[in-house]
C-alpha cells in the first residue's frame, strides 16, 4: 500500500531527471506511508546510482512498468499507471510538468476521473484535501487550487522546492508491474525518437541559473556560453534566436518553449516580449542587459544594465572569474 506515486522521469541511461528529486521531497510531506516510484521501462532500467539516490530521498518501492506495447506512448503508459494506482491503492500521482506528462495526465483524468493541476509549485494537505499552489498569467498571479476528486494528478514545475534527503535512507524494493495495453492505446506509433545529446551543461528546465540570449546577440552566443559556464548555468534563447537557427529550438524559453523559474535569470539582448516573459517571469532574480532603456524587460528586472552586451557580458564573466579566484 502507498498513498502517493511519483513518476520517475529518467534518461536513456537510467539516470534520474533532476526535478524528480524535488517531487520525492514534496511527496514525503504528503504521506505517512512510503513514497512509491513509477519507472516506465522504456528500454532504460534504473541505474545503481538512481536507486541509491531514491533510497536516500525515502522512496521505498520502485515499480517498473513493463508492457508488450510501447510505454513511451503516453496513452499506453497511462494504462499502466491506472493499473498501478489500483494495485497500490495510491490516490495521488506526482510527475514533472512537461508536455509528455501533460498528455499522460489527460489520459489518466479521463480514465480515473482524476483532477489534474499542471505547473504546480507548492503542495499541501489541508483537512485531507490536496491544495496546490501555482503561478499563472506569466508569473503575475499566484493561486491555490483544491483537488476535489479522490484521485489527483499533480504536475510540478522544476525549481519549486529545495531537495532534502529523508530522515533515514532506505533500500528501495524494485518490483515489476507488467500490463497489456489496449489496442486503442497502441494506435500511436513512435516511428523515430532521437534523444538530444547531453551538452555538459545543466538541463534548461531545471537549471538554477540560466543565461539567455536574444536578437541582440546577432547570432554570437560565445560570450553567453562562457558566462553560463562560469556560473554553472544553462543557456537559453528567445524565439527570434532559435528561429534564426543561432541555437537549437530546445533552448527556446517562453510560452511556446520551455518554462523556467531558476534562481537567477540573465537576459542579454532580449527585449522581454510578453510571449518570452510568460516562460521566465517567475524566476527568482532577473538581470537584463539591453542597449534600449525602454526595453520592456527592464520593467521586470531586479538588476538592469543599459549597455552593450558585447562589452558588459565579457566584463561580467572576467570579474566573476577573478572573484572566484
Amino acid at each position: 500500500m502507498s498513498d502517493i506515486l511519483v513518476l520517475l522521469d529518467h534518461t536513456s541511461t537510467g539516470a534520474l531527471r533532476t526535478p524528480v528529486r524535488e517531487l520525492v521531497t514534496l511527496a514525503r510531506d504528503l504521506t505517512d506511508g512510503g513514497v512509491h516510484g513509477v519507472w516506465a521501462a522504456d528500454g532504460a532500467e534504473p541505474s545503481a546510482d538512481a536507486l541509491t539516490e531514491l533510497g536516500e530521498l525515502g522512496v521505498t518501492h520502485v515499480h517498473r512498468l513493463t508492457s508488450d506495447a510501447d510505454v513511451r506512448v503516453p496513452a499506453v503508459l497511462a494504462e499502466g499507471v491506472v493499473g498501478l494506482l489500483d494495485a497500490t491503492g495510491a490516490r495521488t500521482l506526482l510527475a514533472v510538468s512537461s508536455f509528455e506528462n501533460k498528455e499522460l495526465a489527460a489520459y489518466l483524468a479521463v480514465a480515473t476521473g482524476a483532477g489534474v493541476v499542471t505547473d504546480a509549485d507548492a503542495l499541501e494537505r489541508v483537512d485531507g484535501t490536496l491544495v496546490v499552489g501555482k503561478t499563472v498569467f506569466a508569473g503575475t498571479w499566484t493561486t491555490r487550487t483544491a483537488v476535489r476528486t479522490p484521485v489527483a494528478v499533480v504536475l510540478v514545475k522544476a525549481n519549486s522546492v529545495v531537495v532534502s534527503p529523508a530522515p533515514a535512507a532506505v533500500a528501495p524494493q524494485v518490483g515489476e508491474h507488467a500490463f497489456t495495453a489496449s489496442a486503442g492505446a497502441s494506435r500511436v506509433r513512435v516511428v523515430e525518437r532521437t534523444e538530444r545529446p547531453a551538452t555538459g551543461r545543466p538541463d534548461l528546465g531545471s537549471a538554477h541559473i540560466v543565461v539567455t540570449g536574444g536578437r541582440g546577440t546577432e547570432g554570437d552566443f560565445t560570450a553567453l556560453e562562457e558566462l553560463a559556464d562560469v556560473l554553472g548555468g544553462a543557456v537559453g534563447a528567445t524565439r527570434v534566436a532559435t528561429d534564426e537557427g543561432w541555437i537549437g529550438h530546445d533552448a527556446q524559453i517562453g510560452q511556446t518553449g520551455v518554462t523556467i523559474s531558476p534562481r537567477l535569470y540573465i537576459g542579454a539582448g532580449v527585449s522581454g516580449a510578453v510571449h518570452h516573459r510568460g516562460g521566465m517571469q517567475a524566476s527568482g532574480t532577473i538581470v537584463a542587459i539591453n542597449t534600449d532603456p525602454d526595453a520592456p524587460i527592464f520593467e521586470i528586472a531586479d538588476f538592469g544594465v543599459v549597455g552593450d552586451l558585447t562589452t558588459v557580458v565579457p566584463q561580467l564573466t572576467a570579474e566573476l572569474r577573478r572573484l572566484k579566484g
Binding site: 512537461s98 513512435v190 523515430e192 562589452t311
Partner: protein
C-alpha cells in the same frame, strides 16, 4: 529556419470517428478547436476563482491560428474537404470562430451555456468532444498547443481520449498521406516522429506554419457563413458534469504577485559588468 508544413494529402474514404452512417461516405471534415482568451498583452485578472472573460479585450488564442492554418492548408492541398471551427465559451467567444471563418473555415460552431462557466480542462474537453460528435464527427481534429490563458495543454489529449481516437500532440510538422497522419515533435529531451491512422487528433505548435491573415475577400465571405450556437441540452450533456459543478479542481485563492522591490537600473559607463558581478555576489546568487 524555415517554417514549413509538409502537406501531401490523399484522403482515403474512411469512416469518421463518430457519426458517419454506413454506405454514405462523407466529405473529408476537419474540426479545429479554437479558444477565446483574454489578450495576453492586457492586464489579466482573476475574480472568484475564475478568469475575467468580459473585459472586452478577448481575442482568438494566437496558437489556434496555427491550428486553423494547418487545417486550411491540408484541405487546400487535398483539393477537397471542409473545415469546421469550434469554440466553447461565453457570448464573446463567438469572435474567435468568426476570425476562423474569416481565415477560411467553412462553418462555425459555438457552444455557449451558463452552466459551462468555471469548467476545468477535462470538463472543457468533455464539451468539445460532445460537440464534435454532435456535428457528425471528424476525420481529423486539430487544436493549438495551449490556450495562452490556462496553458494546461490538457485539452487535446483529453478530447482524443473521450472521442476514442489517437492523439498526436505538438506537431512542429504535420503530414497526411492517405489515411496516415505523421507528426514530428520536439520535446524537452528528445525529438519524435509519431504516426497513426485517421481519424485522429493533432495539436500543432507555433513552429508548424505561419498563419495567414484574413483578407478582405475572406472577411466579406465570412459574413455569409453559418455560425451554429449550441447549448448543453443540444449536446445532451448533463450540466452537473461540466462547469463549476463538474469541475475536479477548484481555485480557492488568487492574488496578484507583489511587484519586485529594490530594483536597480544602471547605465553602463564602462564598469557595469563589474558592478553586476558585485550585485550577484552580494545577493549570494553565484
Amino acid at each position: 529556419m524555415t517554417r514549413s508544413i509538409v502537406v501531401r494529402v490523399r484522403w482515403a474514404n474512411r469512416p469518421r470517428c463518430t457519426g458517419a452512417s454506413e454506405g454514405n461516405v462523407p466529405d473529408v471534415k476537419i474540426v479545429v478547436c479554437v479558444k477565446h482568451v483574454p489578450d495576453i498583452q492586457s492586464d489579466r485578472q482573476i475574480a472568484d476563482g475564475r478568469t475575467v472573460r468580459d473585459g472586452g479585450d478577448g481575442t482568438l488564442n494566437e496558437l489556434d491560428e496555427n491550428a486553423l492554418e494547418s487545417a486550411l492548408s491540408l484541405v487546400e492541398a487535398a483539393g477537397e474537404g471542409e473545415v469546421v471551427v469550434l469554440t466553447v465559451g461565453p457570448d464573446d467567444a463567438v469572435d474567435a470562430v468568426r476570425k476562423g471563418l474569416q481565415m477560411g473555415a467553412d462553418e462555425a460552431v459555438h457552444v455557449v451555456d451558463e452552466a459551462i462557466a468555471g469548467s476545468d480542462a477535462i470538463a472543457t474537453a468533455r464539451v468539445l468532444a460532445a460537440a464534435i460528435t454532435h456535428v457528425g464527427g471528424a476525420d481529423l481534429v486539430v487544436t493549438g498547443m495551449a490556450g495562452l490563458d490556462g496553458l494546461t495543454s490538457l485539452v487535446p489529449a483529453a478530447v482524443a481520449a473521450l472521442l476514442d481516437v489517437p492523439a498526436l500532440p505538438l506537431a512542429a510538422q504535420l503530414e497526411v498521406t492517405g489515411s496516415t497522419v505523421r507528426v514530428t515533435r520536439h520535446l524537452d529531451h528528445a525529438s519524435e516522429v509519431l504516426e497513426a491512422q485517421l481519424p485522429a487528433l493533432v495539436s500543432v505548435t507555433d513552429q508548424a506554419n505561419e498563419p495567414r491573415y484574413p483578407n478582405f475577400k475572406g472577411i466579406m465571405a465570412a459574413r455569409k457563413k453559418p455560425v451554429t450556437t449550441l447549448t448543453l441540452a443540444d449536446l445532451g450533456l448533463d450540466a452537473t458534469l461540466v462547469g463549476a459543478a463538474g469541475a475536479r479542481t477548484e481555485v480557492l485563492e488568487a492574488a496578484p504577485r507583489p511587484a519586485r522591490e529594490d530594483r536597480v537600473l544602471v547605465t553602463d559607463t564602462g564598469d557595469a559588468g563589474v558592478r553586476l558581478a558585485a550585485y550577484l555576489v552580494e545577493n549570494q546568487l553565484v
